[in-house]
């Protein structure tokens, strides 16, 4: 095959020092680490054309290029990193587009541009292999190393990562007339490929499901095809049908946890709110939506992308964030993505656990430090390139996330309620509408992604579930749809292709009109040779499915073509009551929609709960808690992760009001405020809260604390507590064990109790139920690591006047300091006890009624402009809140506290419902009148030190360095 290699070297590279320092910090003895960008062209060009190509790929101001000639310079060894065949290569795609435009010459199928990166090192070449593994992920990338001698004049090898497939290009019948053992094996490991003799990867269908499928096809009088079986596996997956939340539980929850407690809470709250109900669309669409003003609505959705991020942190995270953006684009007729949020739970990045998915050190789990680095970078690339601000997020650390990180990603959207009298939040595909697939092409990416996240992660987890997002392809598609086609009324319905790909998106939309007919051979592919079942369930990213009426088809296709967006008609919606799929004229799937969506047998689960007693630490005999506070500020869950905030664009779209870093001292806040309609006084306040460690004591109180905090964080910023909407994301572990289900049941019950008490409706939610790592340590001992049951509560409120918002930094010397809300001895599960090495038992409990009243009163005080700063107390309690208020304002606090509690209890208890407030002394009377005895005056703002009684007296600068030093060099 003809291939040309263009190398672009940097005459001047300002990043060398930073790049070299990064590797040195990991213990490598290298100097002067240079980078060469490489483009491999699997297409022939003339010398002159190649010269032109080099000149457009290289910037003459600081780069040089060579064509089919190795870069020659002094170095000791070279390492090149490129993509494996079939892995998304965004740089290669852009280069190809540039060449096509410059030379007006198209690449034919099978021809492409492939990007790779060549690193040149000074130092001992024996380090090459280890450095390669540091620079690349072997799951998706190739690593080639050469010594200077081996590199010689010829340089690195020319490598074209061409996809070679050998798939069966037709549908196969699958025999389900098997004994239960064989059937179970089929469900667990997948269909046996008749050509290769290898199982295709988990269907994650258990026996009752397989029996139901067998019975259905028995009635149809035929065997199912592999397309049908794979399709049912996707649609019935835990990921799509939330089977655990839907199942009956014990004797008291026959309707299931979701209907009873989550949906039930929202129904009760909306009824109670009556005409003050602000919900527009809950649970039914890709996102939940609430009223913004008379003209606009805002949507919110939070997703997880845990398993893919464990395998390829960068790819998993970028795919996650770009994927949840599509839940916005796919809401109603398409909302505009306006704000991104993130939440990451990692193992300790300084730990080096020896974890392997296979025996004999096979398939090692990626170390927590690299998981963190890759995930942070993935959301950076996805969010920044998509032009969506990311003002809100957090990092949380616990060793139990070392086998499986949690990657929460969410997107808020904005959309006019109506255009030309048409409600944009309502969609309905009509029989006869053309099914159009818009966006990227289909490859083997993500096959078995949906079923895979329903299984615990162990050896044999399919590598093809790794995918890398392409934010620019999606940005083009997003702009063309929500900024143009939507308002031109060119389509009736839209949904995104996420888990399960076309099999889920088309079948889901088919419910709107009662049928569909798809021709799989019309689907554009990234490379030839894919089997029909693969095309149907592939999770290749950046695709939407759209229902276009016949008479608008030409206008729709013309617009997409002019915007550089690929769109293909792949079938039509019908009213046949069936999902029919053909491949080259042959029917490969024909299943009733009723069975497809509702044929899965309902499960009945059993749970147990028994409270446990944990050891308590001895009372502290310490007199001075200054050093303790400094240690607390350096705990990873409390310390600043500013390096994440600053690498995420939080100002794009021009609406940033309160960002991730507040005050002169740049302290990370718990909530953010963003204008999503420029020129309006209104803004969207967002927050999140999670207390995984409380689950170890009681998941009920874990959930209550999360909800109370997510509400309190918004109230502190100035949101009206009566206008707060919630989202739930359950990330659980071992959800087939009764004790874990017992914890789940308590947490979900708490959601109902808290949401109804606070009158805050859930508008959207998601769950991920098997976050367990199954594998081995270095000595072949079996290892199971289960995450602590984690509920992330996200909150959103529309703030009527952004100017009335309150930030957390103390403002003026001489201001009065209050603690609002009682501090109790509730140190169980706290960061303080974790620092002491204990869990304890006295987990914070939430007094719904008292807190609700307090928040309402506090909101009155904010509306009257009485409050100068407010900090919602959370992890680390008052000690940490005082420190952060002082650091942010660069002003000391001088406090005299009267309490019956011991100093460390007062300082570090995490009692819920509390706010730390500073205000103008002139406002004291008015504030106390509103807040009543709930507000306790404890001292004054001023000076350069934080003093509390004779318990501690520390300089604000020392507090600041303790808070900021932990991640001062990034992850």
């Amino acid at each position: 095959m003809v291939a040309h290699r263009i190398e672009v070297a940097y005459r001047l590279d300002s990043r060398i020092a930073q790049r070299t320092a990064g590797l040195k910090a990991l213990g490598f003895k290298v100097e002067n680490v240079r980078l060469v960008d490489v483009y491999t062209l699997s297409r022939d060009f003339s010398r002159k054309q190649l010269g032109k190509i080099g000149s457009i790929l290289a910037n003459p101001v600081f780069q040089d290029f060579t064509v089919d000639k190795a870069t020659q310079t002094d170095f000791d060894f070279a390492v090149e990193v490129g993509f494996l065949p079939g892995v998304t290569d965004n740089v290669g795609t852009t280069a190809q587009e540039m060449i096509e435009d410059a030379l007006k010459a198209k690449f034919k199928p099978g021809e492409a541009v492939h990007s790779s990166q060549l690193f040149l090192f000074d130092g001992d070449s024996k380090q090459a292999k280890a450095i390669g593994l540091e620079l690349a992920n072997p799951l998706i990338q190739r690593i080639h190393a050469k010594t200077r001698q081996g590199y010689g004049q010829a340089g690195m090898d020319v490598v074209v990562p061409k996809v070679k497939l050998d798939e069966l290009l037709k549908a196969e019948r699958v025999d389900l007339e098997l004994d239960d053992e064989a059937l179970a094996e089929l469900g667990k490991k997948g269909i046996l490929d008749p050509k290769t003799g290898v199982r295709r990867g988990p269907l994650a269908l258990d026996l009752p499901y397989l029996h139901a499928i067998r019975d259905y096809f028995l009635k149809q009088g035929r065997k199912p095809t592999d397309v049908e079986l794979e399709s049912l596996a996707q649609t019935w997956s835990e990921h799509c049908k939330h089977t655990i939340f839907a199942a009956a539980m014990d004797d008291d929850v026959p309707e299931g946890l979701y209907k009873t407690y989550i949906q039930g809470a929202t129904r009760a709250v909306r009824k109670k709110k009556g005409k003050n109900d602000f919900c527009v669309s809950v649970f039914s669409d890709n996102s939940g939506a609430i009223v913004f003003d008379e003209e606009f609505l805002v949507t919110h959705k939070v997703e997880t992308h845990n398993s893919p991020s464990a395998l390829d942190p960068f790819g998993g995270a970028i795919t996650g964030i770009v994927g949840v953006n599509r839940d916005t684009i796919g809401f109603g007729l398409g909302a505009k993505p306006a704000i991104n949020v993130y939440g990451f739970c990692f193992g300790n990045p300084q730990s080096k656990p020896q974890l392997y998915r296979g025996k004999n050190k096979a398939d090692p789990a990626i170390a927590p430090r690299r998981v963190m680095e890759g995930v942070v970078r993935g959301v950076n690339a996805g969010g920044n390139q998509s032009g969506i601000p990311t003002p809100q997020g957090f990092c949380y650390f616990d060793d139990r996330y070392a086998g499986k990180p949690l990657v929460f990603v969410g997107t808020v959207g904005v959309m006019p309620c109506k255009i030309n009298g048409r409600k944009l939040y309502v969609k309905k595909a009509e029989p006869g509408d053309v099914i159009v697939m818009v966006g990227g092409r289909v490859g083997k990416d993500g096959i078995h992604g949906a079923t895979f996240s329903s299984e615990a992660m162990d050896f044999g987890s399919p590598a093809t579930s790794v995918q890398i997002g392409d934010p620019i392809t999606q940005k083009k598609l997003s702009d063309a749809l929500v900024k143009e086609a939507r308002d031109l009324g060119l389509y009736h319905s839209i949904t995104d292709n996420g888990a399960g790909g076309l099999s889920c998106s088309v079948a889901e939309m088919a419910k709107e009109c009662n049928g569909c007919f798809v021709e799989l051979d019309k689907v554009p592919l990234k490379y030839p040779g894919m089997a029909p079942w693969e095309i149907w369930i592939s999770e290749s990213q950046e695709r939407m499915t759209v229902a276009v009426p016949q008479e608008k088809l030409e206008a729709f296709m013309d617009l997409m073509q002019r915007r550089g967006v690929e769109a293909t008609a792949i079938g039509s919606f019908t009213n046949s009551g069936r999902c029919v799929v053909a491949y080259h004229g042959e029917t490969v799937m024909d299943v009733g929609l009723g069975f497809l969506h509702d044929g899965l047998p309902k499960k009945h689960l059993h749970s147990t709960f028994k409270p446990l007693k944990h050891p308590e630490p001895k009372p502290s005999a310490k007199k001075d808690f200054g050093k303790t506070l400094l240690s607390m500020l350096s705990r990873k869950n409390i310390a600043s992760t500013e390096f994440v905030s600053t690498q995420y664009d939080h100002a794009v779209q021009g609406g940033l009001v309160v960002g991730p870093l507040q005050g002169k001292g740049r302290v990370q806040g718990q909530a953010s405020l963003t204008k999503v309609v420029l020129g309006s006084k209104k803004a969207v306040a967002l927050s999140q809260a999670t207390y995984p460690r409380y689950s170890d004591i009681d998941a009920y109180h874990m959930a209550c604390a999360g909800i109370d905090s997510a509400i309190r964080n918004l109230v502190a910023l100035g949101a009206d507590p009566e206008k707060i909407a919630l989202l739930d994301n359950f990330c659980w572990c071992s959800s087939n064990e009764p004790t874990r289900l017992g914890q789940l049941k308590r947490a979900v019950k708490a959601c109902y109790d808290a949401a109804t008490a606070f009158e805050a409706p859930f508008i959207s939610g998601k769950d991920s139920m098997f976050n367990d790592f199954l594998g081995f340590d270095g000595k072949n001992n079996p290892v199971k690591i289960s995450i602590p049951p984690t509920l992330l509560v996200s909150s959103m409120a529309v703030v009527d006047d952004a100017e009335k918002a309150v930030t957390l930094d103390s403002k003026v010397d001489g201001d009065t300091v209050y603690v609002v809300g009682p501090t109790k001895n509730e140190t169980g599960g706290s960061e303080y006890f974790a620092w002491l090495g204990y869990l304890g038992n006295r987990v914070p409990e939430v007094d719904f009624a008292a807190n609700k009243k307090r928040y309402e009163r506090f909101h009155q005080a904010v509306q009257k402009g009485l409050v100068a700063s407010a900090y919602p107390l959370g992890l680390g309690g008052l000690g940490v809140a005082l420190a952060k208020t002082a650091i942010a304002g660069k002003l000391g606090l001088d406090l005299d506290v009267q309490t019956g509690l011991k100093p460390d209890e007062w300082l570090f208890s995490e009692s819920q419902g509390r706010l730390l407030v500073t205000l103008d002394p002139k406002n004291v009377e008015a504030f106390e009148k509103i807040m009543g005895s709930d507000a306790v005056k404890i001292g004054k703002v001023g000076g350069t030190r934080l003093r509390v009684n004779d318990w501690l007296d520390v300089g604000v600068d020392a507090l600041e360095s303790a808070y900021k030093q932990v991640f001062s060099h990034g992850g």
Binding site: L12, D13, S14, R15, Q18, D37, I56, L57, N59, P60, V61, F62, N90, V91, T93, T94, E97, M98, D101, A102, A381, N384, Q385, S386, G387, P471, I472, K475, K476, D479, R562, R563, G564, T646, Q647, Y648, D649, H650, A651, V652, Q653, G654, G655, L656, V657, V658, K664, L678, G679, A802, E803, A805, V806, T807, D809, K811, V812, D920, K922, G970
Partner: protein, 265 residues
């Protein structure tokens, strides 16, 4: 006919809406136009008086920020662009727009030679930086009239301005350095991070073309048009309240856009 601005979009450009709102606040109407509609001649550049290349992540910064979009323009609408530049018109490039302008050779374009001589290289930190910065005008022109300072965010991975020593001298002699990064007290940043957020040569945040009709700027004044969007907005609000005043709704950053609009008056 009313003077209007054309704001380019497409291929990952993403700040077209806030740019349009900033101009509107300053009193100028604009149309957001996909670059392909100009290429297809559905929209004519010469129907406008101002061209804005807004911020964004065109082509994902692949092959160098602004490079692919610049080649798309050079390959397809170069003649229209030159004709527009010959007229009494203005061009403003912010962030990705600035990167596109240097790649097109439209900045600094000494002697109207439109070749690449300046570059916005990757940030010295190697990482995307989104943080507030302060700018001070470095020369007098209609762009900087009445501006004492600009306080706004930067948000880029490649903003490290570079040109040859000879060109730097010429930029300074001809007073074409429009803005420099400074500390909040308006003293020089001297390439100290984070005041100079990317390592830019001579703290350069923005430059003008030799005829002063083209301005390229890395930071984003259009993202801080309101007082509460400034880094100390809420402190200033509280101080104003105690002094019995109210903060003005609009921030001082709007002056830059007013200056552009006033050029046509």
């Amino acid at each position: 006919m009313v003077d209007k601005a054309l704001i380019f979009s497409g291929y990952g450009v993403n700040s077209e809406m806030e740019s349009a709102v900033a101009l509107q606040r300053a009193g100028m109407a604009s149309d957001v136009v996909h670059v392909n509609d100009v290429i297809a001649k559905r929209v004519k550049l010469n129907d406008y008086r101002m061209l804005v290349l807004p911020g964004g992540f065109s082509y994902g910064d692949d092959t160098g920020s602004g490079n692919a979009y610049a080649w798309r323009l050079r390959n397809n609408v170069w003649d229209e662009l030159l004709e527009f530049l010959d007229g009494d018109n203005l061009v403003l490039g912010i962030c990705n727009g600035f990167q596109i302008l240097v790649n097109l050779g439209l900045l600094p374009a000494f002697g109207k030679k439109r070749e690449r001589t300046a570059a916005l290289m990757p940030n010295q930190s190697g990482v995307f930086q989104c943080r507030p910065v302060t700018l001070k005008p470095a020369s007098e022109s209609f762009w900087t009239r009445g501006i004492e300072r600009v306080d706004c965010p930067v948000a880029h991975g490649e903003g490290n301005f570079y040109c040859s020593a000879g060109d730097l001298k010429r930029l300074e002699e001809k007073k074409l350095v429009a803005f420099r990064y400074v500390k909040p007290d308006l003293t020089l940043a001297n390439r100290e991070f984070p005041f100079n957020p990317n390592g830019a040569l001579s703290d350069i945040a923005g430059i003008l073309s030799e005829d002063r009709k083209v301005l390229g700027l890395m930071p984003h004044p259009e993202r801080a048009m309101e007082s509460i969007q400034l880094r100390d907005g809420f402190l200033q609000k509280e101080l104003a309240r105690r002094a019995g005043k109210r903060l003005s709704m609009e921030s001082h950053n709007l002056q830059l856009f007013r200056n552009a609009v006033n050029y046509f008056k």
